[in-house]
Point group: C2
Chain length 347, copies 2
DNA sequence: GCGCCCGGTTGGATCGATCAAGGGGGCGAC
DNA sequence: GTCGCCCCCTTGATCGATCCAACCGGGCGC
């Protein structure tokens, strides 16, 4: 089944060589070439070498579609790519995607992005799973009442969540998450070690379990060190000016010397208030943010911030995914990773 | 060829329905179902309706792999995902990816990400193209001497570049780009309108054609308004402290009242110097950045910045890609889009 | 009466890799 | 000598959608 005829005198797009082309050229059967690629152990060394050489000469690479059809796999991991929120410093998603792409590559997977359809959060998943376009999903927004995880479980679609199923006790899916409380514990202890005793908290509204988790880290560390917390906590929207307002109120009413914030966005608000009041971040008042965003990195003073180990999260997720897909029993239902603290001049 | 037997009493993963299943259930032939999906015009309205209903009932969706194999397409667009540079404000790539994902979806494409292998920038492309895993690429870093575009052209692989082929006069590929000079022209004129006459430029080193383009916008606008430029320009590395140093030197030597910067990163450096010198951004000295990054958005004062129309870029790229893939002759070799200026308190 | 269009049906081939079964040759054991 | 077995490789069928060619009977125009 030589293909040279297709190529002769053609301005046509070049047809890549197939398994059969390699087989013919190397003087073996298709299956042998297939084995050379997928089960090299089955070949005699000299045959293997000959086939490999031919593969290299022809620049052969197995056709993805054909392989996918036969094996009923795609080597693709689906990820719903949610838009960045403008006006905030939150870009965790973006950094995570980078890590996931790299971790996936090492496991032989590629990442397929699909957009978020706010009207119907399920449709994107449904399309991909019912057309067997992806092998599995990585689900990122496991917030309250998000139907994705439940729906995917019911569909028996393999997936791993980045984020705990906070509210849902019966959720039986596998997840990887970062211990937010441990992060704020680090931050708070760091400030205590620096001699601060009046350390305030600015976090998100109560309906955010992630926010409450981070808050708990601050609270427990304060209590463990016998430090006061009354009048030192505030819960606001995750936007800069809310952070600024909260900081102003707290400074007036409770005179904190340090702030731990649930996000870099809020921390920027605090810095704004300090700037207005001519207070020097790090010297007069310490500030710690959360996420180690680009904002924290390039802000002139340098914002100390809790850094999520997204690279590790991605590696762990891919590892779990592989176990799921190879139908191994996954031993652990959840993995919790420890964040670190990136210390800069603001503390 | 009913599949109900596969489903009965199964703990097995559910096998999705196939074309034949739909055909049998709807009492038509496979070909008709295929036509209902791909060429609805060929069916009588009532037949079409019946088939569509059956498709909906069964939740049928054509198997991607089978379709890909037969049609030799994948509906996938490959994008090499380069890591964010930590310590800078540059996240253009991330915002662009979001836009591209959305624009692609509307055209029936999905975006496949693959990581950058610094040792061999070609290998990632080669793997995907030779295994016919993607239909086309979007290439983002068309900087000096980047071999990707040339290589892809030679391979006859369809692709559209985000970025002009600056150095390469013989490059024959299609591209979409943002007019950087127009952006800095906007910024400079904005400052002139505000009454500034001594407007400084802080840009990148001379070997960056993008940087030189942006610089040209500042230069031409200054000249057009009969304003001086000597001693008012600086070329540095794209990091915060370089921007800060450059600003300090310029302030000492040339007393500018405004700065136009090639990036938000450099603008942050300028703001840092202003802060040290107790100068108020926007009141004492105006600053304009480039990219409208999250940093510009959440920085307490609010950084005026040139915003690239990445949504439009993505739409234009996808449009061009579709033309390329449908073997239409693409009329325009390049498209240049106009940025806008997001004005905040720093100016 | 011939040819053609319409809205389908039918059988088969096709895409390229993989799976399951089988086969020839060599070797050791009986 | 031959039986069985393993090794290495070949062969035919398969995955599911699509494409192709041929064909159907009724209606229409010439």
């Amino acid at each position: 089944m030589g293909r040279s005829d297709h190529r002769l005198g053609s301005q046509l797009p070049v047809t890549p060589p197939t398994l059969a082309d390699v087989a013919e050229r190397a003087g073996v059967s298709r299956q042998t070439v297939s084995n050379a690629v997928n089960n090299p152990d089955l070949l005699r060394p000299d045959t293997l070498e000959r086939v490999r050489q031919t593969i290299a000469e022809l620049g052969y690479s197995p056709n993805r579609a054909a392989r996918n059809l036969r094996t009923r796999t795609s080597s693709l991991i689906g990820l719903r790519f949610t838009p960045v929120q403008e006006g905030t410093a939150n870009a965790t998603m973006d950094r995570f995607v980078h890590s996931l792409v790299e971790a996936s590559e090492e496991a032989g997977y590629h990442v397929l992005l699909f957009p978020a359809d706010d009207d119907d959060p399920i449709s994107g998943y449904d399309n991909l799973i019912s057309s067997t376009a992806v092998d599995a999903f990585v689900v990122t927004d496991t917030y309250l009442g998000n139907p994705q995880a439940t729906w995917l479980s019911r569909q028996r679609a393999p997936f791993v969540a980045f984020g705990r199923p906070w509210d849902d006790d019966v959720a039986r899916h596998v997840w990887v998450d970062v211990d937010g409380a441990a992060g704020t514990r680090l931050a708070t202890q760091h400030l205590i070690d620096r001699g601060h005793t009046r350390i305030a908290w600015i976090g998100w509204r109560k309906d955010s379990p992630i926010g409450e988790d981070r808050r708990a880290g601050w609270l427990s560390t304060m209590h463990a060190n016998g430090l006061p917390t009354t009048g030192l906590a505030s819960r606001v929207e995750d936007v800069v000016h809310s952070g600024a307002e909260a900081a102003a109120v707290l400074l007036d009413e409770s005179r904190p010397t340090a702030f731990v914030c649930a996000s870099d966005t809020l921390a920027m608000g605090v810095l704004h208030t300090l700037w207005i009041r001519q207070l020097a971040p790090g010297r007069d008042v310490a500030v710690v943010g959360f996420d180690d965003s680009q904002v924290a990195q390039v802000y002139p003073v340098g914002l100390t911030s809790v850094r999520q180990p997204l690279e590790d999260v991605a590696v762990e997720i891919v590892r779990t995914l592989r176990a799921l897909l190879s139908h191994q029993q996954v031993e652990t239902r959840g993995v919790l990773l420890e964040p670190t603290l990136t210390i800069r001049q603001s503390s």
